[in-house]
Symmetry: C2
Subunit: 469 residues, 2 copies
């Protein structure tokens, strides 16, 4: 019982049984109590330690549960054989490197992913949250439908029909925590060994996601109407990921003719599908919104993906996907066991937010804010870069500035960065080789900057691009 | 201009330009305006329709944007060539079958996935939400870190260390919207063509998820201490998915000896890892919580996964994963572009909920509720099924009732269902063939039922199982 000399502290705040348990466990782990060694009976140890027998019982029971000791009938408690335990390091060194996210400080960041953060409708959101979190809706705290709650799907369905011409029923909608998640789910729905064609240039994140799949990823060049259909046929892909309403980064709106050609391509083989990423279609500054590609799809060949992260706030992780009937069946057979990734509380809040018109009001407000910034950027570019072409206007949250001069894109970005201006090079959005006769092009996102910042930023940009040797 | 006879209604609430746009688009889509046909100039059409020229300009611009018409320099506007458009069905029939989720009504459902829904801490949640949604924290509405916010990761890290003995730094934690999502991400981190071993019987959802991966899924039998290590070596898998603290469905607590053997197995090859699903470890009714397997891992071989969906509410989709250093590097290289799937607002609420002690209080409350239900079920089983063994007690949210008699499990479930009682057969949790000498075993989850319901349910169950021929 020598190994069981232990000091118990009844004022330590820790249960006596825990102290006994800790002590014996340590003795075993440090090899002081060896395999097959018999422990004192609970009665004896209780007497020895001057504690109640039930205290020792509890300590032994815990050691039994965790497999440190075993009970042999009529014989008592013995230390178990535990392979590889004795050289256990009690304390693992904290070797983890600290996470170092270096965020360089820019005066103005023209990020195409920027958003206006001051405009989150937090009063409305808070009010709806308060009304949602009441005790009389206990079903809301249970696990929801894997596709998302029917109420929200119905609301999204109506919204998509009215604003984007999308033809679908709520049964076809799958709600998920962001586009990236929906693409992960889509991989499971479409199955392995697929080949997907992406526009080149394209949204690099989507490219990386498809690359992480067991998919062949092919790139297809673009002309002024979008993805080149001849090259799509040639590349042999059976899926095509496109952004017809406002391509990133080119800003090209795919005309109806090209859309019909893509739909025709898809209709020619059963396994062919178009993945339409309608990422920023809410923001268009002249005329009506461009209808979605899905709106022209009569053979159930378009998988439509959209998000609320862009229009409400990136922090809100709610996206949706509209599945054609055949894929809906695949989803139901193969993927229904994946639980929904969106909190039902959040689904309920968003449902009320859209249903009661707050979303439409929010969008109108944001469109005004973004249009004013868009106009400020367009104006500043025309003032400070009079000889250079600007493209991608009328929609979205970024413009392209086509540089004319003899600097490389990298030099332009470095010159800008050196003056506290973060701009983005369009060459970064190309997969593989740049097209021949490539001219440096800057992507200027304006959503996260005020008009005065935009004006000032473009002025500085023009100065440093022109003056640097 | 015959095709351009249109009736404009200035009181319809629709812009005149929209009416013009709609009309021309319809004429083109229905083949009344053909390819190459010239449209009247904007001046002429404006005069003809008695509207301002800018109205017609806007309509033409929209048609141009969408690719229905094109502008030929010095010649005017012409209808584009749009292949495959003319046989377009204007209205797609709504063929979507209505979603029919048949929910059979049971008087008592002993689901092992049941939870107590009345106890969601909605007052506290609402209070924290209110404090969180203030205008002065605008950074919260931006896109967050892909692994989740550092504040919440730090809080989870402390909680895991204190409650589960998990050794990690916040840098190793990845927060995601549910365990299923984290497994999808883990597939990308671990890479393709892996082989994973699962305990048999096991959690069927995990099995289905691994089956959907490009993985070889192997099953390994269990003995009274958990996964058989010899069989694990033999099966050739390089990953093993285990539930050491309270295996589903057996309820087995893996003793320290078996844990060390599993860790030894993992340490022998670089690509080997253990995936520890600690799904319901919060609920243990005697003694201290069983430490996690990760707590004994000194060679960074355990991927630890846990969730708040079980302890707070299934509707809350927040889980976490602790990655060993080597896999953390893989994650950073290959998967950092997957955006976080959890709303930052929810992350912030959960962070305060845990940090300020509300989570601990909630857990204590739930433990009391669940212990009382656990005791009621154990008591009722002993009263109504005196000859039958009950196992899996002391932890978790379900028990196993080992049937002795000559009915099949299916007959038992049907007899119960016929009397309004939903119980679950353990044979359902086996992959492939049942073990020899299989005896029907019922899984009885008690978390979603009150004590009186449990007592009554078991009484009815005993009656119908005994009396039915």
């Amino acid at each position: 019982m020598n190994d069981l000399v232990m000091e118990l502290d009844s004022h330590s705040g820790r249960h006596l049984y825990e102290q006994i348990y800790d002590h014996i466990k340590r003795e075993i782990r440090e090899g002081k109590l060896l395999y097959d060694e018999k422990l004192p009976s609970t009665r004896l140890l209780a007497e020895y330690l001057q504690v109640s027998r039930s205290t020792v019982d509890l300590a032994y029971e815990q050691l039994l549960s965790e497999g440190y000791i075993e009970s042999r009938p009529y014989r008592g408690f013995f230390v178990c054989k535990i392979e590889g335990l004795y050289d256990f390091q009690a304390q693992r060194a904290e070797t983890a490197e600290r996470e170092t996210v270096v965020v360089p400080k820019y005066r103005y960041d023209f990020s195409p992913n920027g958003v206006e953060l001051n405009s989150f409708p937090f009063r409305t959101w808070k009010k709806i949250t308060k009304e949602t979190l009441t005790g009389d809706r206990k079903e809301m705290f249970a696990l929801g439908h894997p596709q998302g709650d029917m109420e929200l799907r119905t609301t999204i369905c109506r919204y998509l029909h009215a604003s984007r011409g999308v033809n679908c029923s709520p049964e076809q909608i799958v709600i998920g925590a962001g586009n990236d998640y929906l693409l992960l789910l889509l991989e499971k729905i479409l199955g392995r060994h697929r080949s997907v064609a992406l526009e080149n240039p394209t949204y690099k994140r989507a490219y990386r996601i498809f690359e992480s799949f067991a998919y062949d990823v092919r790139t297809v060049p673009m002309d002024e109407n979008g993805m080149c259909v001849d090259a799509l046929y040639e590349c042999g892909a059976d899926l095509a990921y496109v952004m017809p309403s406002h391509q990133f980064p080119t800003g090209i709106v795919m005309p109806i003719g090209r859309r019909m050609e893509l739909l025709k391509w898809a209709s020619q083989k059963e396994q062919r599908y178009l993945i339409e990423d309608d990422y920023d279609s809410e923001f268009r500054y002249r005329g009506k919104p461009i209808p979605s590609l899905q709106a022209s799809d009569r053979e159930e060949k378009v998988i439509y993906i959209g998000t609320f992260s862009k229009a409400i706030a990136p922090a809100i992780r709610i996206s949706y996907m509209v599945l054609p009937q055949r894929l809906l069946e695949c989803y139901r057979c193969q993927c229904m066991f994946f639980s929904s990734t969106v909190s039902r509380i959040d689904q309920s809040i968003l449902n009320v937010f859209i249903r009661d018109g707050a979303f439409e009001r929010h969008l109108n407000k944001m469109r005004k804010i973004y249009k004013s910034r868009h106009d400020a950027l367009l104006g500043a570019c025309r003032t400070y870069f009079p000889g250079m072409e600007v493209s991608g206007e009328n929609a979205g949250l970024h413009l392209l500035l086509h540089y004319k001069g003899n600097r490389t894109e990298k030099e332009l970005l470095e010159a800008a960065a050196g003056n506290g201006i973060k701009v983005y090079g369009m060459s970064e959005t190309y997969i593989g080789r740049l097209p021949e006769n490539w001219q440096p092009t800057l992507i200027l996102g304006y959503a996260g900057l005020h008009e005065t910042e935009i004006e000032d930023g473009v002025r500085i940009l023009a100065g440093c691009i022109k003056h640097q040797p």
